[in-house]
Symmetry: D2
Subunit: 347 residues, 4 copies
């Protein structure tokens, strides 16, 4: 069984493990106040061009999302997101459990536009009974999105502009940020995120770490007392250095981008094979997730050899599924799948 169902099937890049092992018996202060975490934070601030930012490490994505969103909202405020956004459909209502409504906007490709946000805010402000509705205060986007698409620089600039105009925080979920930054058509650098987002994170779990997300906060309001928030929500790792060490390993020599390019490159090979075979996609993208629409009988056959994840039914005989590559995907596994794509469509 070759797993293409997600990008977290293996452990961590060997450099990550080495760093953990090499420092294992050192004694350090707990809760992220150790020297390694400090180093990693400084490095991240430099990479993002924001030495004034605050950086915090959390263990996973849902936890990061709920902690950041809770930190930014008063009780009657909500967070705007694409209907397909992870916080809206794949976190068991974690945001609601913290008391806040997700204000879901329609989206075909996983992205939302500045125009949609502007319309939502205007409608709210024009409502004379607006205190009967949830007040929008934050915009949540994912880069890359849950459908593998990416925001372009001008799109992010427009979103940031609308957010500033309307007093909203712009929050970018970067669980798959590496795969977005490494995409062939990417136009955004970490410095752009540092400049445009009030808060975003650099995902480790899906990009070479055992676990871990590095939250970068540029907005002063969100910085205040953020460690209280982390602790209360159960996200403060006792041995916090484990997070600092992993991000050091990933970021100090450009490993993060290198392994992200590896994943995107292999995804491109699969994408081409599907294209050649005439397989349509639910959505076009350039990152490590592919959403081909395939006949159910082929999917049934492939199940024995490959794991992939089910996305949605398209018609009576076809379904959209998801194939992912990752930092750990082996070239030979991709080649085998390419062969199967070619074989079947050769008929």
């Amino acid at each position: 069984m070759i797993r293409f169902n997600c990008d977290y099937s293996e452990g961590a890049h060997e450099k990550v493990l080495e760093k953990i092992a090499a420092t294992n018996m050192e004694q350090t202060e707990g809760y992220g106040r150790d020297g390694y975490s400090m180093q990693a934070k400084e490095l991240i601030k430099k990479l993002c061009g924001r030495t004034d930012a605050d950086v915090h490490f959390l263990v996973g994505g849902t936890q990061t999302n709920l902690t950041v969103i809770s930190a930014g909202l008063r009780p009657y405020q909500g967070v705007i997101a694409a209907r397909t956004g992870h916080i809206n459909i794949h976190e068991t209502g974690a945001v609601e459990a913290c008391g806040h409504k997700v204000l879901a906007l329609s989206s075909e490709d996983g992205k939302i536009t500045a125009g949609q946000v502007e319309d939502y805010c205007r409608a709210h402000m024009e409502d004379s009974d607006r205190e009967h509705t949830v007040q929008p205060k934050m915009v949540y986007i994912s880069q890359s999105t849950e459908l593998g698409t990416i925001y372009r620089k001008e799109e992010l600039e427009e979103l940031a502009g609308v957010c500033r105009k309307n007093g909203l925080f712009l929050f970018m979920d970067g669980a798959r940020l590496g795969y977005a930054l490494a995409a062939s058509d990417n136009t955004l650098a970490l410095e752009d995120l540092g400049r445009l987002c009030d808060v975003f994170y650099i995902g480790g779990t899906k990009v070479g770490a055992l676990f871990g997300e590095a939250v970068v906060i540029t907005n002063p309001f969100l910085k205040e007392d953020f460690r209280y928030m982390i602790k209360q929500k159960g996200g403060m790792l006792a041995k916090g250095r484990l997070l600092g060490l992993q991000f050091l390993a990933l970021l100090e020599d450009g490993l993060y981008m290198k392994i992200s390019r590896h994943a995107d490159g292999l995804a491109e090979e699969l994408r081409e094979a599907f294209h050649k075979a005439g397989v349509p996609f639910l959505v076009e993208n350039t990152t490590n997730q592919l959403f081909p629409i395939l006949p159910d009988d082929i999917l049934e056959k492939w199940k024995e050899k490959y794991s992939f994840s089910y996305q949605q039914r398209v018609d009576q005989e076809h379904s959209a599924v998801r194939f992912c590559t990752s930092w750990a995907t082996k070239k030979e596994d991709v080649e085998q799948l390419v062969g199967d794509i070619e074989k079947i469509y050769a008929k």
Copy 2:
């Protein structure tokens, strides 16, 4: 600087790291549904004498506490705990953030008694306006407690009896369970916990793992849909096998007890040295935490060599502090401290 301030200053026992490294590039299913997690769960159920139990792995203690407590309570119900309990004073109101009041009982030694719980429940039931007060529904205890003391078998049996009689869940925080089980005067086995508690956990973070707590649920009500709770509260690790692997390493050959005895043994050496030197304790105990009451000037001098944690002021010239040993504490470090204890009190 030698760290005695807590029991999570180092990484993990080498066997734990080895197991993670050895399986690193294997592909497994995510979110704790992999084979290693399954194996570890089976092992834990056997060790607790409860093959009918459910076992779940979470990353840390606060997260585990808030998830278990949320799972057990309806909105108007609260959890009884010692005033010194971790959930009451060291989790930034995590339980309250989930909507529930901690019903704090007075305690000198970190423990609460069956009589206290019984009195609390009786007073609630006798109150004709009881719907104006929080309904007690769970009892939270720690083993060992935040003051290093342990419950004896008969005490736990009485608590369990009162809980059953009054329809309360009995929940044991086992963040330091190893150090309790390994204590020289311990009378409780894992099977007793499986028999008496509705839910408890075997702590990994402080006892040889990088991180991780193994929750054992014996009560059917608490079992239901517990994975939803974990996911919502941000505690579901994508690479869940990391938790399964660590508990396999710790539990399959008795390593957990062996390293716990190591810590308790070294703590005993320190305890004896303090006793000999005539140093009183804030509370007497037999586990890996010690709370000597020392003159402030000695503490000031020791700060350069040792880290320890401040507990409370006792009088104008004395403070109670905490020294911890752990699975990782080195014998030579303990000997050095013993030497300093003897030296100073020789005067």
Copy 3:
């Protein structure tokens, strides 16, 4: 200015006020344990054909909705509702503030169907990662709906059937129940609600009372400890008899139905006038709310004489607005508006 914008512009029916005044200086027990509240509860149980039900009085609709929904759900569970449902769009996220997601289903007429609920539940159960999504556990409907439509007996029976099959609670918001029961094409009696709903309420605020909603709970799980829920959520009125007295006044002689018929009858006069004048409706219905689609210039002119509420833009020159009648609407006010409808469309 004649107000047609809502059905709560006046105080209370005179019989309601009389009853409050007549008993004003009597001393009674607080918090709804007085004799008048007891009488009213018995009467309501009889009218609903459920002497085994529990009845509680709350002050307003949002409070009632959030209290009932909180009482029924565990933290990871959500409530299914029409996208137009009051809890989804007009309660400032009150349900989310209690920790629960509103699972919104599309609806053109304010109603949802048994088929939609069944599909939602099936999709949830077929999802192998369902613990990553909110578990549906309750269905919220309004009778009449926010668009003035009503459920027919067979529709409610089907919804109840799907709810029972899938283990969901069926909750009916009856803020405007009188106007539904009095509708010319109504097929549901209070006994049907008692038989089919797990919980519902008989709205007083919009149907002749100063304020107040009478919650009828038939499901044993929801009954348990409901008074704790009311108190915690701030809904327990110290002088609870004020609620009992009002419902006695409204229900002991059929006043509730009589005044509801009054409102529906006047609405019918307006509806006919609009129909005759060729005015289309956003949605057709038979209760006290009308949603005509009118030219913006006429609306502009009418604003000086009438208050009505804005619903939505339909095209560049037309908007849908809402006109309400109520128990208190005067025949002469309706006649004046009818005159204006005729006049304008005479052109």
Copy 4:
């Protein structure tokens, strides 16, 4: 049966009812935006000497407390209160249900001191791990307190000073404010509250209204978006004018103070009778609540004639109970009780 158990056994002062009846069929805007509410708000601002304040009307005390506290705190912040405070023991954990811990301070007489608050804040700031504990951000006091005592002007000034110094909001629960203002030894005027409190309320429910509390907010942060908070928490009355009208009736001619003096005067008669009879008090005070310590056999006998509320056991043969007078208490009822006090102690 004569009720002395609480101060909400009757309806409302006749002037309150008259005002509601006189305006009953007027049409007004909903949700507190009517002219009567506006008038009442202006009047209250003037009486408090704060024309810059915001005034809002809510239905009851628990609702008011939870709404104000939620409005003021970020998720990890808590509210300091006396252990005897209503929010700590008689609101079914309403504050915790909004996510916040009540930080309870010991108190013998229902009051807390500036020194206690200062110590709490200092201890928090000196804790190097303070993000592991709840951050104090608000102080809740009651005037009069749950034990009938009152804060003197210098005490309130000191509390306000400590709050400002430490960045805490000072919140006064005025459910029984009238009885405090009318006390023979009162030193505080409404203007003092307007000057010293960030937010407080003038209680109506227990002082002549059917229901209702008038919240006065002087702190700009707390003012922001407060109507969203009221709506979300279920406290926005559709027919909001009912609240405005009642406060107009109570405040426009000094009725509030007149009826408060009535209650305090009758309480004084009872107090003197108890004193003469040698009955000790649990706590001495000058307002409408009395806490005599009486032999159980007398209490048993009195139960047939009077209702009073049980406070606590004092010794094997004596209990402290509570007797309340109110705006509605009849002189002849007090005289009868005075007679019984004299009779029994004559023996």
